[in-house]
């Protein structure tokens, strides 16, 4: 078969500099996709509605805070205002969480005044380590897995401590007695 002559007309020589299918589409649509993501950020920042960032549904007990993240996520004074971790002080506004044991070395919080007391009482701290939120409406935050207890309370005899079984029912997940 004959061919076009001269050779320079036979091929589209500067083709590499031009965009072809599908790049013509993907380029524009990528800009639209990234633009949509940025618009989403802009909307959430300027509207102050942080619900989209929730990592999951709150429990029923805390459902009233679902549209007000800063009830629990409060600025850390030690850091810049941008960071909003869950604060123990937010939990202690409603819940009294005294020390679990006067000898405990972990999860010790700040002393605070509790109603009907004149002296500040030391509280437990780092509530959200054991009581994990955002796991769905039917999760009971008080149901802490026994494994978390075992982390500190294993092998008590070797530490010279005597375990006294509580008067109430056995911890969940065990057949009786202590872990």
């Amino acid at each position: 078969m004959r061919d076009i002559w001269p050779l320079s007309e036979r091929f589209d020589l500067p083709y590499i500099r031009r965009r072809h299918f599908p790049d013509t589409w993907t380029g524009r649509l990528s800009l639209v996709a990234v633009g949509a993501a940025l618009a989403f950020v802009g909307y959430t920042v300027f509207s102050g509605d942080d619900r989209a960032f929730s990592s999951g549904t709150l429990t029923r007990a805390h459902a009233m805070f679902a549209d007000d993240c800063q009830q629990c996520h409060q600025p850390d004074e030690a850091q810049a205002g941008f960071w909003l971790p869950p604060r123990d002080s937010a939990c202690l506004r409603c819940h009294v969480a005294t020390l679990h044991d006067p000898h405990q070395s972990l999860f010790r919080g700040e002393p605070m005044l509790v109603s009907n007391r004149t002296e500040p009482i030391e509280m437990s701290g780092d509530c959200s380590v054991c009581h994990v939120e955002h796991r769905g409406p039917d999760v009971r935050l008080t149901n802490v897995p026994d494994l978390l207890c075992i982390g500190c309370h294993k092998d008590l005899a070797s530490r010279g401590r005597q375990f006294v079984p509580p008067p109430h029912a056995a911890p969940s997940g065990t057949t009786g007695g202590a872990p």
Binding site: R2, P22, F53, P85
Partner: protein
């Protein structure tokens, strides 16, 4: 590479199960291990996006293109697992749910692309023997049109038909007559009478021009109809013109092949229209998610 990805995947899953058992709650995105999974997935997404940038700058000599593509596919799949382990396979809130949707769409479209890349190039090899660069298709199709005009001009002096009338109907009737089954008792049907070069010019005007202009209903798009019409044209022209007609028939076949290549190429690359933009959207939202999750205390 596949082995490395498998080892990483199995190792990450075992770590996830161990961490979940240790914590009692199951692993979460905000734990050290969960953040490692999330960070790993984000790093892989950035690596996958780098393939797109590398394609735009082909003179970057950073590894072989095949290795990049394999890494893109296999580590991309690993990132889905890591995201699952990071999120404990939960949908979470609106942003994380959107991220899941985007990730699954990007992954499925990518897998479809891998499948098409395995299938269509082989099909092209057989269906389009004269395959050309996808970016040269338009130029080659234009070249074929110019060549057709050149051949008709050489054969007849001009491409413009001089006479008036409906030669299209004439050509069709002649084609039908040439291929009509012989009547009962008739051994050889009478040969149609050859007409002047006007037949070739008419044929060019009525059939070649619409075909080379890309008219969707052009009869020459069908190979069978094309064979029939060219056979009829040969019966209407003198033997001296037959080499030109053969060349024209070859050009038409070449154009049909290139059109077939263009169709297959569109199918081959159409998935990228979904895959690439959503990947960039996924990457942008993933970075946003990382910042917001750390902002709200790493318990995302």
């Amino acid at each position: 590479m596949i082995r490395a990805v498998l080892i990483l995947g199995v190792g990450a899953t075992l770590l996830y199960l161990w961490d979940g058992a240790e914590r009692g709650h199951g692993s979460r995105g905000g734990t050290a291990l969960g953040l490692t999974f999330g960070g790993g997935a984000l790093a892989i997404m950035l690596f996958c996006a780098a393939l797109s940038l590398k394609r735009r700058v082909p003179h970057w000599r950073i590894g072989r293109a095949q290795a990049w593509l394999r890494g893109h596919v296999w580590f991309g799949l690993l990132s889905v697992l890591l995201v699952g382990l990071h999120s404990a396979f939960l949908a979470g809130g609106a942003l994380t749910f959107t991220l899941w949707l985007l990730l699954l769409t990007v992954t499925i479209s990518g897998l479809l692309g891998v499948l098409l890349q395995q299938f269509i190039p082989r099909l092209l090899l057989h269906a389009v023997p004269g395959e050309t660069l996808a970016q040269q298709l338009d130029r080659q199709l234009t070249n074929l049109r110019k060549l057709a005009e050149q051949i008709v001009t050489e054969a007849t002096g001009t491409v413009e038909p001089t006479g008036v009338g409906h030669t299209t109907t004439m050509v069709r009737e002649l084609a039908a007559a040439a291929y009509a089954p012989p009547a009962a008792g008739e051994v050889n049907p009478p040969a149609p009478t050859p007409v002047a070069p006007e037949a070739l010019r008419r044929f060019h005007h009525d059939y070649l021009v619409p075909f080379f202009r890309g008219t969707s209903a052009a009869p020459l798009l069908s190979r069978r109809r094309s064979d029939s019409l060219f056979a009829a044209l040969r019966t209407m022209t003198s033997p001296e013109q037959h080499p030109f007609i053969d060349e024209l028939a070859t050009l038409c076949e070449r154009r049909r092949q290139l059109l077939r290549q263009r169709r297959l190429m569109r199918i081959l690359f159409a998935w990228l229209i979904v895959h690439v933009p959503l990947s960039w959207g996924l990457l942008a939202l993933s970075i946003l998610h990382a910042v917001s999750a750390l902002r709200y205390g790493g318990d995302a």
